[in-house]
């Protein structure tokens, strides 16, 4: 995997998480004040940076095959779960991720909470809301940085890609002071799910001792193959959901008449 491909993969995955974290920080900032929200977000980023700095060197000290097997298997399971959710959303089985709706809910909850100062933090609720949001979404960022970075012995590059995504999304969110609903988040989640699944399967198999036909070039078949499978599933589900809705619509007048 080239440095450019690693950067793009981590950047895209972290962009999705950064959009979700930004929505929560914006809700905290608008409802409770920017200072407390900023303190909370910065504190969470600092905690995550310490986690990556502590675990990164430890992971790269593990023999490559064992590391690829464990990290690849974890990434595979994580990636397939991510892809499964993306397929269910794209197929209309579960609701699409809607940043506007999430923002409205978070804002309403934050506006109703009581305010109290703690130390140098003017509003503890705003601090906690931003801290928890960034920490929860950021844990997935740290997981992606550690798995991709340690596998390629390029944790600084993976961290730079994650940092770039966080800075870019954070700056855009702060500039518009509104959730970044125009980011095609559901499409990005689909793409990231394909990447996590593909790289996870590739590294886990290599770590297990398998030799891919064509070596790294196998990824050029594996990734489009997984994308095609996911797309076919989404299209199939959408048709199934459409047929189900039509059946319900057709049967409701009969029920009313009887």
């Amino acid at each position: 995997m080239s440095a450019g491909a690693l950067f793009i993969a981590v950047f895209l995955a972290c962009t999705v998480e950064a959009v979700e974290a930004t929505t929560i920080v914006l809700a905290a900032g608008l409802a409770r004040g920017w200072r407390s929200a900023a303190y909370g977000a910065v504190a969470a980023v600092a905690v995550l940076a310490v986690v990556v700095a502590a675990l990164g060197p430890a992971l790269t000290a593990i023999p490559t095959d064992a590391l690829r097997l464990v990290i690849g298997a974890l990434l595979l399971v994580f990636g397939v779960q991510w892809l499964r959710k993306a397929v269910l959303r794209a197929g209309g089985v579960t609701a699409l991720h809607d940043e506007d709706a999430i923002f409205t809910r978070k804002l309403a909850t934050a506006q109703g909470a009581a305010s109290h100062r703690r130390g140098t933090v003017p509003d503890w609720y705003g601090f906690t809301l931003a801290f928890q949001g960034v920490l929860l979404e950021g844990t997935e960022v740290a997981f992606i940085v550690l798995t991709f970075g340690s596998n390629q012995h390029a944790i600084p590059l993976a961290s730079a890609a994650a940092g770039a995504a966080i800075l870019l999304v954070g700056a855009a969110g702060f500039a518009v002071r509104a959730p970044l609903a125009r980011v095609p988040e559901n499409a990005l989640k689909f793409l990231v799910g394909v990447m996590l699944t593909g790289f996870g399967a590739f590294w886990a198999a290599e770590g297990a001792g398998a030799r891919w036909p064509g070596s790294d070039a196998a990824l050029l078949v594996l990734l489009p193959g997984i994308a095609l499978l996911a797309l076919l599933l989404a299209v199939g589900l959408r048709r199934q959901e459409g047929a189900r809705h039509r059946r319900i619509a057709a049967s409701s007048p009969t029920r009313q008449a009887s």
Partner: protein, 61 residues
């Protein structure tokens, strides 16, 4: 913390995670023989992802 890690890695469908873990074990086992083993994980994805997705869709219907 344990619940968070479980949700992060295992997610909503533990049978999917278990199936994939079993596929990794099978890959390790076959790799110790002279047979090729690269096909196990793609096959597992091809089988398990549709099963999980369709099962969830049926439950929600």
């Amino acid at each position: 913390m344990a619940a968070f890690v479980y949700d992060l890695v295992i997610g909503d469908d533990w049978t999917l995670a278990l199936g994939l873990a079993a596929a990794v074990v099978v890959t390790v086992a076959i790799s110790r023989t002279t047979f090729p083993s690269w096909w196990v994980l793609p096959t597992a994805i091809l089988a398990l992802l549709p099963l999980s997705v369709l099962r969830t869709a049926r439950h929600r219907a």
